[in-house]
Symmetry: C2
Subunit: 384 residues, 2 copies
């Protein structure tokens, strides 16, 4: 079995499973907000996790606010910036390749008067920096936020977030970047990134689902989305998901120790892509020339439907997506690809292969083998 | 060791640990929103959990919306009802014994024009129904919500929520009840309760922390707090915490199978209370005459500080709280007790002993022994 759908959700890392097996044998379960020693031990563990995570992602510990994951993180950040003010005449600049949580959340505030400006995207899936600069200049006084992701979930294309951050700094505009696909999967340092806000989801990095965090350059600038009894310094109510947080620290520590393997993954992916493209010159890799996550390939063979390829691969115990998990069931060109100007015959043909730093040549060789067989089989019976 | 702080957080149930140990050995980890068979297996499991939980709590399956826990649940419900409208002239009736998440959330909307009316509470900690009726009549046209909890976290006192629901029905007012301490801990049936909204937190019932759900009589009436990609029928964004949800179904099924033990727990608690009160006639149990959760005792000995008792018990490996977990560190009479008219010398002396249906006479005998020793020791050196 090859599970190649890490951008949708990563399986629990082996070290996380080992940790949890031991953890289940302990008796240390309590509310971290109580003052008895069991609660305090858990609370202390939680702060150790915060500190360990801050070292992996290059932030201060007090810039981390634990929550239930990136969707909550994105909503909280946008709510912090946009809620409770008159939005008429205010502008947020974003991109058409954002995850639906960003798009839906901004749509909510558009209904309350916000103006949304979309920066264009190259055919390789990279934000058009000159266009962004133009939009910022045009709306200099009115722009309260730039919301542009760090790495795209479908294509794996990494955005020039440091340049975006510089632009935002020059014009004193808040910069939030959806880093869900980058943190714990590629080189990243919060303080060096220049971002004001970033997010992480545990289930994307091999930790328990239902956990994650916000990174906030100014920890006092956030306002809570979920109310409660003062947890997370008043920024996020609800008893902390301490088991989830512990698993997150274990997972991100595993990333830190194994990040050097990303270059092996990257090389194996390139060989795989070269191999498949050589065998099928009609096939296309989206964002081929762009900087991408080491383990992400979005590949299509115009005329062969992506879902047909997906199903064929699945019959060989290989699991991939056709697009983002939440729109995986739509047999159409995704919004991200449309924004990149991808034609429908290619757009409907793509599958997303996403692996992690624990993989390399072995998995990609097997993937090349089954994918080539699938293309050979399916191109005889064009699916549409 | 006796962990007697279940109202703060329940340890993972043994059946939940067994389930998770097996679960960790499986390879079934994926995003439930993907269409490949791994995602679909998880998605199917999730719907089985929804169905199993609905049977335990007496709701329809489609009335359940999974989230990260009760704080998110409360915030989402209040947000659904109160956000995005002109709140000037609108009234919400609530009580002074609500959990801080309800109070803080309503405070947020008070700052946006909402009027809050407080129903008074008897010295036993029960909502004053005639006063509630009076408030409703006085504000009949303006009241958009009654928010009164089902069982209090500090005292364990169960509120007359069915009578409140009838009143609300008569006046066509939405009734939300914070059921965090009742679901999975005492007799409860959502459809029979007459509530429009209710909530549950996984970590209060022995499931994983970071999981829970909302119950909504009309599933279409909710609006999302956390945005995302259409998960939970558009009502709650973010990849579902499927491991948490599975643990929740296991935990609530355990409750269902063992609910008959609540009468044993109740009897053992009564004996314990009688035993301690007989030995120390100066001691007081808050809400002694009121219907209470089977496993909750809030007991004080005026003149002996609650924290001193807590520490003394802890030296014998017995873990209790002095009040709600999130205000456990405040050496003052809690807001809940103040609302009940409890004097400071009693209010500052209380400890909360909270157990579950897996306990009985054995634990309460041991508790009586250490508590009596503690009182005997500490009353010689009055702590204040």
């Amino acid at each position: 079995m090859i599970y190649a759908d890490y951008n949708a959700s990563a399986p629990l890392l082996p070290v996380v499973r080992d940790y949890l097996r031991k953890r289940l044998d302990s008796e240390l379960f309590a509310n971290p907000n109580t003052i008895h020693s069991m609660g305090q031990k858990i609370s202390l563990g939680l702060e150790k996790c915060r500190s360990a995570i801050s070292e992996v992602i290059g932030s201060h510990a007090n810039q981390i606010f634990f929550n239930s994951g990136a969707s909550e993180g994105v909503t909280t950040i946008l709510h912090s910036i946009l809620d409770g003010q008159d939005l008429n005449g205010k502008v947020v600049i974003t991109s058409p390749i954002e995850h639906s949580v960003v798009i839906n959340c901004l749509q909510f505030y558009r209904n309350r008067g916000l103006t949304i400006e979309m920066v264009s995207v190259s055919k390789d899936g990279i934000i058009d920096l000159p266009h962004l600069k133009e939009l910022i200049k045009l709306n200099a006084e009115r722009t309260i936020l730039v919301a542009i992701m760090a790495a795209n979930n479908e294509t794996g294309v990494i955005q020039p977030y440091q340049e975006i951050a510089e632009l935002c700094r020059d014009y004193e505009i808040i910069f939030f970047s959806d880093t869900t696909q980058l943190v714990g999967k590629g080189e990243y340092n919060f303080l060096q990134s220049g971002m004001d806000y970033a997010v992480c989801s545990g289930h994307k990095v091999g930790a328990l689902p239902g956990t994650g965090f916000i990174l906030a350059k100014d920890p006092r600038a956030l306002s809570p989305l979920v109310f409660g009894g003062g947890q997370e310094r008043g920024q996020r109510g609800g008893t902390q998901n301490y088991l989830g947080i512990e698993s997150l620290a274990v997972a991100l520590n595993d990333y830190k120790e194994n990040a050097y393997k990303l270059s092996i993954l990257d090389m194996a992916r390139r060989e795989f892509e070269f191999d498949v493209l050589s065998a099928f010159p009609e096939a296309r890799i989206i964002g081929l020339e762009a900087p991408r996550l080491a383990g992400t390939t979005l590949i299509g063979y115009p005329g062969i439907h992506g879902q047909a390829v997906q199903i064929e691969l699945e019959s060989h115990d290989v699991f991939v997506s056709t697009s983002a998990a939440c729109s995986d069931n739509e047999p159409a060109t995704s919004k991200v690809l449309k924004a990149m100007g991808v034609e429908d015959d290619l757009g409907r043909s793509v599958i997303r292969i996403s692996l992690s730093y624990s993989h390399g040549q072995k998995e990609y060789s097997a993937l090349a083998h089954v994918l080539k067989s699938a293309y050979n089989k399916l191109r005889k019976i064009y699916s549409y």
